[in-house]
């Protein structure tokens, strides 16, 4: 037998052979995106999300009820054991009730275990489906988008998705808590009707009162957390600007500013502590009075002879079981309703922004093999026609064409080439092989045109993983080496498998830009568009790149949007737009003479 737990849970020799149930499959399931409708309110959306997987939530709810009722039954069993066995001095009854206790514990432990695993499965499945929805429609839109996703999408896809999924616990945990409160009340009804009524009326009142109190607390806690986040953000911001601060000897001023933010947060923390204190006093008093009232009433009934001594002890046990359930509802369920709706509103907003009037709302998720028909090339499929302010320009196959324009015009032309379906400046028209590009699908377009934007991003991984695209057929070693050499990366790229770091931060700005250029040169679409590819590269290296660019382009055309003389000098010809500006490009005063 194996000496270690094969599942990695350090289980002992007696249990390590048992299978571990309820684990997630290693590969992601094929998740269908959620649909959104115009009539969706955040509340309705949450309801639709949490009711979407009844095959998991229904068993989870039943198991959770078993678990919570079992927890509530423990004090009752103890009370009955004291009455029947201890008071009566009956050893047989003692064994019987210990047996009952053990059975209750086994049942509630197993129920708790499988509730937990079903809950986590439900949470993760819902989160995965929500992320699939947001990823395919906002982060990686397949269809026309209104605008690129802003930084908020990151928090939406992590925090908001998680909070909406937590609403599924309302179906499992909250219902089970309510059921066990009802169980306690019914048990008390059996003992004495008035006790049952007191709990049935009193418990909701206590829940309501504590809910009110906790709302003030959670508002104050949120305020404090915002302050803390701001202080932490300030620290990151200052440290991120470390070299700038060092460069102008602003260390003391930076420290002073941070201290100021930190002290404000401390004041917030103290304020929050005071609110917490008031909440604790109030909830302690409410709970204490409630429990004392039930116990005192039961004591009076016992004195009065309406209740046996066993009934009194059972009542005491039942009230003990009541408090954790009330606390669970106040502490978890009520905040959950509010936070899931707020997050659902943010998700709907993100989806709404990305998706105008029903386009692509029901688009299938990404599938393999899109855009294969685009590889059928008609004779002039590789001709790129560009019309700016009515003046036509053409990039013929295998041509290396420079384009010089003021920054604004250059940016507009580059943006139009980047995403032909995005909104574009009115003065710019683009045709590919004679067809207006907006009629091509994104897949068809990008099968022919690669655009390397000026604001480029390296993805974490190795230099090689950045240079090669798994969807592209041609990442032969020769092609990579040629691209690396042409982009003048050969002085620092000694190992293609070296990590580039998050956002390429292991490389300097100039190195990042050269790797991005190599990535563009390593692609194999018939047309390549480069926008200001060497702004962070020194003039000596830029000259080297300009000389090598002519050799590496081989069988494709390159449109080089730049105004650095070194690069333009290597082009077959240069389109000069410095005197032609599309109307949307704004006032002429922004243009500067090259």
């Amino acid at each position: 037998m194996s000496r270690v737990d094969p599942a990695g849970f350090n289980r002992g020799p007696l249990t390590r052979w048992l299978p571990v149930l309820g684990q997630a499959a290693p590969e992601p399931p094929d998740a269908r995106p959620f649909e959104t409708r115009a009539s969706d309110t955040p509340g309705r959306f949450v309801v639709r999300v949490i009711f979407s997987i009844p095959r998991i939530t229904v068993p989870a709810m039943l198991l959770a009820i078993t678990w919570q009722v079992g927890e509530s039954a423990v004090p009752v069993v103890m009370g009955l054991a004291i009455d029947r066995a201890l008071a009566a001095g009956d050893a047989g009854q003692l064994l019987l009730w210990i047996g009952v206790l053990v059975v209750v514990y086994i049942v509630l432990t197993m129920a708790a275990r499988f509730t937990g695993r079903l809950n986590v499965t439900a949470l993760q499945l819902l989160q995965h489906r929500l992320r699939t929805t947001l990823s395919s429609r906002v982060l990686h839109p397949r269809h026309t988008t209104v605008r690129p996703p802003d930084g908020g999408v990151v928090s939406t896809m992590t925090n908001d998705v998680a909070r909406v999924s937590f609403a599924v616990l309302l179906l499992t945990m909250s219902i089970s808590r309510i059921v066990s409160i009802v169980f306690i009340a019914v048990s008390l009804l059996v003992v004495h009707w008035l006790l049952g009524v007191l709990v049935l009326v009193g418990a909701p009142v206590v829940v309501f009162l504590m809910g009110m109190l906790s709302r003030r607390l959670s508002r104050s806690t949120r305020e404090y957390q915002d302050l803390l986040a701001a202080t932490v953000g300030r620290a990151s911001d200052l440290v991120a600007g470390y070299r700038v601060i060092k460069g102008i000897r602003a260390e003391a001023e930076a420290t002073r500013r941070y201290r100021q933010a930190s002290q404000e947060t401390l004041v917030g923390a103290k304020r929050n502590a005071a609110v917490l204190g008031r909440f604790l006093v109030a909830s302690g008093v409410v709970n204490g009075v409630f429990v004392a009232a039930v116990t005192g009433l039961a004591g009076w009934f016992a004195v009065d002879g309406q209740l046996s001594i066993g009934g009194l002890i059972a009542t005491v046990g039942l009230t003990q079981a009541l408090l954790p359930q009330i606390e669970g509802i106040v502490g978890a369920s009520i905040p959950n309703i509010a936070s899931s709706q707020a997050s659902a509103a943010r998700i709907l907003e993100a989806l709404g922004n990305a998706c105008p009037v029903g386009s692509g709302a029901d688009a299938p998720a990404w599938s393999a093999g899109a855009g294969t028909d685009a590889s059928e090339r008609s004779p002039d499929a590789g001709v790129l026609d560009l019309r700016v302010s009515g003046v036509p320009h053409r990039v013929a196959p295998v041509e290396l064409v420079g384009l010089r324009a003021d920054d604004r015009t250059a940016a507009l032309v580059a943006a139009a080439l980047l995403d032909p379906h995005a909104e574009r400046a009115p003065g710019i028209e683009i045709r590919l092989g004679g067809h207006p590009v907006e009629r091509l699908t994104p897949a068809e377009y990008h099968a022919r045109v690669t655009v390397s934007p000026h604001r480029m991003t390296l993805f974490s991984g190795t230099i090689r993983s950045n240079l090669t695209s798994p969807s592209g057929p041609s990442s032969s070693a020769d092609r990579l080496d040629a691209a690396v050499r042409a982009a003048a990366c050969d002085d620092f790229v000694t190992d293609l498998d070296a990590l580039v770091g998050e956002n390429g931060n292991r490389l300097s700005g100039g190195q990042r830009q050269r790797v991005a250029l190599a990535r563009a040169l390593a692609t194999d679409t018939p047309i390549l568009v480069l926008h200001d590819p060497t702004t962070a590269v020194d003039s000596v290296t830029e000259q080297v790149i300009a000389e090598r660019l002519r050799e590496v382009r081989s069988d494709r055309s390159i449109l080089l949007i730049a105004s650095t003389p070194a690069l333009l000098s290597c082009c077959d010809r240069v389109i000069d737009l410095t005197s032609a500006t599309p109307e949307a490009a704004g006032d002429a005063s922004e243009r500067t003479v090259a």
């Binding site: 699939t132 896809m157 953000g233 600007g241 460069g247 102008i248 004392a292």
Partner: protein
């Protein structure tokens, strides 16, 4: 060297991490002003928990009075009144304890995080460069947040939990010592369960957290690289990467919950056993006539009351552990002695009285790597502007860093003026208003001075484009400035500092093509009347300087004015010819 210390190897010369003992000593020192309060917290905590005992004991009393038939309405009312009073006093006692403890916790944390950032700013720069700023960022953000978020867990564990356990055990002893003994025999199960959890839990939680940050990173990269994703047609590939990372968390989350449910099963086992032993003990004691039904009821209630805090204490152990690990990383930085800057070899450049720079026979290498600067001799007289031209890897940036005092030279001497400012290619806009960005280098600058600096660098035009002028919030979460605008602001900030020597390390490189001219003129204006060292990015910049040096492989190969170097027909002349040719290309169509 222990295995733990060995993980911080010489290959990655990171910042130090304090040991648990060092952190403990530091916390003890920091608690100096709060010790009376800490004592009060202890006393109040025990007192508050003591009132919590009232309910079980009074209930036991009531049961006994009912059992013996000696109870009447007066007894019931008295018992109820005592319960209410104890609940009120107990609630106030524990609330005051928690409030005091929370205030103390956050006060000490505030001191620590301020020292952390303050120390980070005053550490020798080469030390931080070697470790990378990423480490400092994660300590001042992630670690500070971890410690702050652990406050309820730590305070709850110390105040309510520990005190309740102590007081409840005392209550059991007071009832009848066998009840306490019956509970204590179940403790080994808790100990075994906890040891298993501490062995298994942390690694599973670490894997879960790692999966979560991998997921966040994938999403961030897709968002930040949106243009690249679209331009290269990578949307489908990125979509699948994000989903894989998303599901990676699901796999780890299921494992983490499994560990929790296994731990809960062990706790339930101990709970069940302790309740059963209380029943058996009560049965035997009552049979022997030394206990009453009421006492057994009170013991049952006390044990039920003990279980919840014990479970809570065990469940927050990993929160407390990770807070402790974060504290060690924070204290690791705050405890670096001030004397660090005078470590062997870290010779600050000597200061010249005037604004000139003198470099004599300077060599430099990173660690044990090849020589990056090889026997450099260079003078920049007061007021002169010197340009450095060379390919990447020629040693230009290293030369600038050595002159600025970031790196001490291996051999040779560097003298420079005291007020030296550096602007690099690295653009950073601080979150805050434009004014706050500018006054970083001159906290007392007047509005007039600020306007003047902005006018000089041509940055006033930027203000006109901003909604609130100087008070516009920029940087992270605010208005986004372009790199060129940010660098113009940085140049104005440099002016407010009034440096004698300004070092521009490709400071104007990140401009778009045609903004370059604008930025170069701003840089020229900023240099007026000071000594300047310009690591030239564009040849037009170099040509505008008084003198130019060309560097190759860590050596100066050409030196002279623009005209002299053109006449010499060397490397510089070749570069210039290509540059001129490109400038004269016209459209042929």
């Amino acid at each position: 060297m222990s295995a733990a210390a060995g993980t911080n190897t010489a290959a990655e010369p990171g910042l130090p991490i304090a040991s648990g003992r060092e952190t403990g000593r530091e916390l003890w020192r920091l608690s100096r002003g709060h010790r009376a309060r800490l004592a009060a917290i202890g006393a109040l905590g025990v007192g508050g928990a003591g009132f919590g005992l009232t309910f079980p004991l009074v209930t036991g009393y009531l049961v006994d009075r009912v059992q013996t038939g000696t109870a009447d309405l007066g007894v019931v009312l008295t018992v109820t009144a005592v319960m209410v009073a104890a609940a009120v006093v107990g609630a106030v006692g524990s609330a005051v304890t928690i409030v005091l403890a929370t205030r103390t916790y956050h006060t000490i944390l505030a001191v620590l995080r301020e020292r952390l950032v303050g120390r980070a700013m005053t550490l020798p720069q080469h030390r931080v460069e070697r470790a990378g700023t990423g480490d400092l960022i994660s300590r001042s953000s992630d670690d500070v947040t971890t410690v702050a978020d652990a406050a309820p867990a730590v305070i709850g564990a110390v105040t309510t939990t520990v005190f309740t356990i102590i007081v409840s055990l005392a209550g059991l002893v007071a009832l009848d010592w066998p009840y306490a003994a019956a509970f204590v025999v179940t403790l080994p199960i808790y100990v075994v369960g906890m040891r298993w959890y501490l062995r298994t839990g942390p690694q599973v939680y670490r894997a879960e957290r790692a999966a979560m940050s991998a997921r966040a990173q994938q999403i961030v990269e897709s968002q930040r690289g949106y243009a690249t994703v679209i331009g290269f047609g990578l949307a489908e590939q990125r979509h699948h990467s994000v989903l894989r990372a998303s599901w990676g968390v699901a796999v780890q989350a299921a494992r983490a919950r499994t560990v929790q449910s296994m731990f809960n099963a062990r706790l339930n086992c101990a709970e069940c056993l302790s309740l059963a032993t209380v029943l058996v003990t009560g049965f035997l004691l009552i049979q022997a006539g030394s206990s009453t039904i009421g006492a057994a009821t009170a013991a049952m209630l006390l044990v039920l009351r003990l279980l919840e805090p014990i479970n809570q204490l065990l469940l927050v152990i990993d929160v407390v552990q990770s807070a402790a690990a974060s504290l060690n990383r924070i204290v690791g930085v705050t405890a670096i002695p001030d004397a660090e800057s005078s470590e062997p070899g870290a010779r600050e450049p000597a200061m010249t009285g005037d604004a000139s720079v003198r470099i004599r026979r300077v060599t430099f290498r990173y660690g044990s790597g090849p020589r990056v600067l090889d026997d450099i001799d260079l003078d920049i007289p007061t007021g002169q502007h010197l340009a450095v031209v060379g390919a990447s890897g020629a040693g230009k940036t290293t030369l600038a860093a050595v002159i600025a005092g970031v790196h001490p030279p291996e051999t040779g001497t560097v003298t420079r003026p005291e007020r030296t400012a550096v602007i690099t290619q690295e653009v950073h806009v601080f979150a805050g208003t434009v004014r706050e960005n500018l006054t970083l280098s001159a906290p007392d600058a007047s509005d007039r001075e600020i306007r003047q600096a902005l006018n000089t660098t041509g940055a006033s035009a930027i203000l006109d484009l901003l909604p609130d002028g100087l008070e516009t919030r920029v940087g992270s979460g605010g208005h986004q400035l372009t790199d060129a605008q940010a660098q113009q602001i940085a140049l104005a900030r440099l002016l407010l500092f009034h440096p004698q020597l300004a070092i521009f390390d490709e400071a104007t490189a990140e401009a778009g093509s045609t903004q370059a001219g604008l930025l170069d003129r701003a840089a020229e204006a900023a240099l007026l009347g000071r000594t300047g060292l310009v690591i030239a990015h564009r040849l037009s910049q170099a040509a505008a300087c008084d003198r130019i040096v060309v560097m190759e492989h860590g050596r100066i190969t050409e030196c002279g004015t623009h005209d002299q170097l053109l006449a010499a027909a060397g490397v510089y002349a070749g570069l210039w010819a290509a540059w001129e040719a490109g400038r004269n290309v016209r459209e042929v169509e």
